[in-house]
């Protein structure tokens, strides 16, 4: 009889022992377990991404020669435009460096751009993250800024051997310093829990009282140097309404983010060329 009772509570006893063990196990062991399981899964996602690329390659091979010639012409036009822009950028950069030298300004943070494919999107009510196909193999650091053609994407939160996880700008866990275009005063941007209907949204806080936004002339929220993660001037979103915040001193409002954030295929990771020097770097 006693044996029968023990058998019946065996699953609960095992659960209790496991919970106790899980509570006692040091964080190092848990981190090791997580890293091991994640690294074991990563090759499958990398392989899926390469297969996706192969599929696209074969899909493009089925295009006719006329279509390819047209696409080639389009690329040639874009290339000449980008070459012109590149020359202009170089001239402007030289001019900036000359002026900085005259004014004896402290050095700015410089970044290296590492373009990476998105292998997975985990966008739900509970988390807003993407996984990219580059990790420690390309020296991606934790905390690096991630951008795309439409502006800020997010920040790297976890780096594996082959992949990295990026917290999206839409996530409530994401917060950054920003400013409105043409106004140097800093504000705070934070992601919001997404409803899943309509474009993604964020929120802006600590906007000065004299800033006015309207649906006719929405304000552009851009990144700032503050924090040192993002270069200045990258688009975060548009603000078409501001109202007094809970303190009454500052204003707050919703930020309309780029809808393309939900279907990203390629992003660029900004890797600082040198570590932050708190003494000499511009904040």
């Amino acid at each position: 009889m006693a044996k029968l009772r023990l058998d019946r509570i065996k699953p609960l006893v095992a659960l209790g022992v496991f919970l106790l063990a899980w509570w006692i196990i040091p964080t190092v062991v848990k981190s090791f377990l997580k890293a091991s399981f994640s690294e074991f899964q990563a090759p499958a996602w990398v392989a899926t991404s390469y297969l996706d690329g192969l599929e696209n390659f074969w899909a493009r091979r089925s295009h006719s020669k006329v279509e390819l010639i047209e696409a080639g012409k389009e690329v040639a036009r874009s290339k000449s435009l980008y070459q012109f822009n590149s020359q202009r950028k170089e001239t402007l950069e030289n001019e900036i460096q000359r002026l900085e030298a005259i004014l004896n300004l402290p050095s700015r943070r410089e970044f290296r751009y590492e373009v990476a494919r998105v292998v997975r999107r985990d966008l739900s009510a509970w988390w807003q993250q993407i996984v990219i196909r580059k990790g420690k193999d390309f020296d991606i650091p934790v905390g690096a800024a991630v951008v795309f053609s439409g502006g800020v994407v997010g920040r790297v939160v976890e780096v594996g051997a082959l992949t990295s996880r990026v917290e999206l700008v839409t996530s409530p866990n994401f917060r950054m310093a920003a400013n409105f275009e043409g106004d140097e005063r800093p504000v705070v941007y934070q992601g919001l829990p997404q409803s899943g209907f309509g474009d993604p949204l964020g929120t802006v806080r600590d906007a000065p009282q004299d800033v006015v936004a309207s649906t006719q002339i929405p304000l552009k929220l851009v990144s700032t140097r503050l924090g040192g993660t993002f270069p200045p001037g990258l688009m975060v979103g548009r603000v078409s309404w501001l109202e007094p915040g809970s303190t009454g001193i500052f204003q707050s409002g919703e930020v309309e983010l780029d809808a393309r954030l939900l279907s990203l295929h390629e992003v660029a990771v900004l890797i600082p060329l040198y570590p932050i020097d708190l003494q000499n770097d511009v904040p």
Binding site: P11, F37, S38, D122, S195
Partner: protein
């Protein structure tokens, strides 16, 4: 035998189900639809295996899910073992040969997983209407898809028994 070979089979099938779900989620991200289909992973190990093999299979599955999803590490490991321990005690009540009971059980476990992750990850946004709206949509979509996926997954696991020439009957159940 220390470990029932079927435990390895179940773990492999669970990893495959998770991989396919995440592929679908990745493709559906543009439509803001997310599927959380974890319920079927627990059903066969609980009903078919002895306690030792069930425990190892569920533990590995939980760790695998925890490593794949951005939730706190250990959430699904503990959650699976918790749900599994209670289901294991009641397993005599479920008929494993047909999909009806198994599908109901899968829905129950899946609902528990959605509840668990909502409590663990969403406690900070409890006042946000948008958050609850998306949880509702996710829950409805997941359980609708589960109506199709669960029977397919169970039949797939039975097919694996046949292919691998393993015992297709649940173990350790009392003869009625």
């Amino acid at each position: 035998m220390f470990l029932d070979p079927r435990a390895i089979l179940f773990f492999g099938a669970n990893a495959l189900l998770l991989y396919l779900t995440m592929l679908v989620n990745s493709a559906l991200a543009g439509w803001s639809i997310y599927l959380l289909i974890l319920g079927p992973m627990l059903v066969f190990p609980v009903l078919y295996l002895r306690h030792q093999s069930y425990f190892i299979c569920t533990l590995l599955t939980g760790l695998w899910v925890d490593a794949a999803l951005p939730s706190g590490f250990g959430l699904f490991t503990v959650g699976f073992l918790f749900a599994g321990a209670f289901t294991f005690q009641m397993r005599i009540r479920f008929r494993a040969e047909s999909n009806y009971h198994l599908t109901v059980l899968a829905h129950g476990v899946n609902f528990f997983c959605i509840l668990l992750v909502t409590i663990a990850m969403g406690s900070a946004y409890i006042t946000s209407l948008g958050f609850w709206l998306q949880v509702l949509v996710t829950g409805l979509a997941s359980h609708l898809v589960l109506l199709i996926v669960a029977p397919w997954f169970f039949n797939f696991e039975r097919m694996l028994f046949t292919l691998c020439r393993l015992e297709p009957e649940p173990e350790d159940l009392p003869i009625l």
